[in-house]
């Protein structure tokens, strides 16, 4: 493999790739480094070393309730996305009828639709329905955004399933249900897990939908962070950001262990 890349051209490629890696990691590294700074405003280079900002953030009731809300919302919308998305993925890969492709394009369309407009449109309709429960509204909005992700990863896994195995099970007398649970499900399980975890992360990071549906009492973590960026300048902002980075890293490692990153993202 290595002999493919050699000569001056290869060194230029490596140099560009290395520069891009620095470009990607630099802002995250700066955030993490600033969170330990023993100063009252964020400065660079950071001075001293302290965990005080983490103590402050983790003890802050506003952050605690935002984190609780975000986790609950991510969990709820993942469950909702799975319940709606997995059956739909089965239908879209196993059914044969006219208009199937159109149906698939339609249910996956929230993926390319600007999420900001998805949220705005939903706000307008929920307002008119008189749905005043902010938590329910947020949950609905997040499911609209996350369910297509689940469908996409599960559809990809279902397309890779060896249909001969299903046929064999059926020929041997297994019912369709039994075939699904015993033959198909084990093959798509990593895809379902990846879709679920990805849905969780997408919900946890969402701003463009939450922006419209949240209120002062129910503010998820990314929105809280965005509001605080404007009026707080001490290192509690980088500390809060670092907590978000660590949570995301945990999710990434889990995804990598489960299915491998490339497949999970399914781009």
């Amino acid at each position: 493999m290595n002999e493919r890349l050699n000569g001056v051209a290869a060194w230029i490629l490596y140099a560009i790739a290395a520069a891009v890696m620095v470009f990607i990691l630099l802002p995250l590294a700066v955030v993490v480094a600033s969170s330990f700074s023993n100063t009252y405003i964020v400065t660079f280079p950071p001075k001293g070393f302290t965990f005080n900002w983490y103590v402050k953030v983790l003890g802050d009731s506003e952050f605690q309730s935002a984190l609780k809300l975000s986790l609950l919302l991510a969990f709820g919308s993942t469950v909702g996305a799975l319940l709606l998305g997995v059956p739909a993925a089965i239908a879209l890969t196993r059914a044969r009828f006219r208009g199937l492709q159109v149906l698939q394009d339609l249910v996956l369309s929230p993926l390319i639709f600007p999420a900001l407009v998805t949220g705005l449109a939903l706000l307008q309709v929920l307002n008119r329905m008189g749905s005043g429960n902010v938590m329910v509204n947020l949950l609905i909005g997040h499911i609209v955004v996350t369910a297509p992700y689940v469908m996409r990863t599960v559809i990809t896994s279902l397309q890779l399933v060896d249909l001969n195995l299903e046929d064999a099970a059926r020929t041997l007398g297994a019912s369709r249900m039994r075939t699904f649970w015993k033959v198909t499900m084990p093959q798509i399980a990593p895809g379902v897990a990846a879709g679920a975890l990805f849905a969780f992360m997408v919900s946890f990071d969402n701003v463009p939908v939450s922006l419209w549906l949240a209120d002062a009492q129910y503010t998820p973590v990314p929105l809280l962070l965005m509001h605080q960026l404007v009026n707080v300048f001490d290192p509690s902002i980088p500390a809060m950001s670092t907590i978000v980075i660590v949570l995301a890293l945990g999710g990434t490692l889990l995804l990598e262990r489960l299915v491998g990153m490339r497949r999970a993202v399914a781009i």
């Binding site: 490629l13 995250l28 319940l83 709606l84 739909a88 059914a95 600007p114 900001l116 990071d205």
Partner: protein, 308 residues
């Protein structure tokens, strides 16, 4: 324990699914019904409502209704302030996508053709930030690009003696492009890498054996065969940048306004629903146009390859 079926029963079991197959393939389709209903109520219907709002008028009590009008659209495209936001958005999205292409090729090629350890590390570094909140990533750039000597970039440049006065980068279009590039770069690299990965290596080897220098191999073989990935990546980066909200708020401040920020202002500050809806429809129009264009380009390519 399942009884072992006799040969007769087994033969019947083979025939059975065949007969019920058509019925099954139709009935399994009903599993898509819940999501179809859910999205109809909470996605398609609201989207149609927004489209309708953009043609309605709002009275002094803030109630939106008849008469129908096209005036919000003419207002949007003729008032200089709004038209400028429209062109700014297109320019930022285009610049970001083009830079993503130029940097995407080297990274995707190194990702595919270097040793497994390097390839794996690059894949992780490219994808992991995808899961880190856009707010956090934009905030990171705010610290890096901060104006004055306390900004990380200025600190480095001044420390190295490259400049003596700090650069003013934050709250400029450049800052928004840098931030968008950081946020959406994976969307370019991943489709590119998968298109490049599908290219038959023998083609490149053959060209090289016949004496073609690397740039000709790239120009005549690698690049043309990677175009589907390029188009997919371009479409993703362009549409996502055009629809962004967080990055321009954090890195553009009040001086760089994109369509998304304009929508938010119209709804939350001005309370002008019809005009906010109009801008939303324009944004969706941009995204649909770029997706339609890429689909057509890909189809035209397929047709050309089928023709002799």
């Amino acid at each position: 324990m399942m009884p072992v079926p006799s040969l007769d029963v087994a033969a019947g079991a083979v025939a059975q699914p065949k007969r019920s197959d058509a019925a099954f393939k139709l009935s399994v389709g009903f599993l898509a019904l819940p999501i179809a209903l859910f999205l109809t109520i909470f996605f398609f219907y609201p989207a149609v409502q927004i489209l309708m709002f953009s043609f309605m008028t709002q009275d002094s009590k803030g109630i939106t209704g008849l008469p129908l009008t096209f005036s919000h659209y003419t207002h949007f495209f003729t008032v200089d302030l709004y038209a400028r936001v429209f062109w700014n958005t297109l320019r930022i999205s285009l610049t970001t996508s083009v830079i993503a292409i130029l940097l995407g090729y080297p990274v995707a090629i190194v990702m595919l053709r270097s040793n497994p350890f390097v390839a794996r590390t690059i894949t992780m570094i490219i994808i992991a930030p995808l899961i880190v909140s856009v707010v956090v990533r934009s905030y990171g750039w705010q610290l890096v690009l901060a104006n004055g000597p306390a900004g990380v970039l200025n600190w480095i440049l001044m420390g190295l003696g490259i400049t003596s006065t700090p650069l003013t980068l934050l709250y400029s279009e450049t800052a928004v492009v840098i931030g968008s590039l950081h946020v959406f770069f994976p969307m370019m690299v991943l489709p590119l890498a998968s298109a490049l990965g599908k290219i038959d290596r023998n083609l490149e080897d053959a060209a090289r054996t016949l004496g073609a220098p690397w740039w000709r191999v790239f120009g005549r073989i690698t690049f043309p065969l990677s175009i589907p990935g390029l188009i997919a990546g371009f479409t993703l980066v362009f549409s996502l940048t055009a629809g962004s909200f967080v990055t321009p708020v954090i890195l553009g401040g009040t001086s760089v306004i994109m369509l998304g920020n304009l929508i938010e202002q119209q709804i939350f500050v001005v309370y002008d629903w019809p005009f906010g809806a109009t801008i939303a429809v324009v944004l969706v129009g941009v995204v649909i146009a770029i997706n339609a264009l890429s689909t057509r380009l890909l189809q035209a390519r397929k047709l050309r390859r089928v023709a002799p």
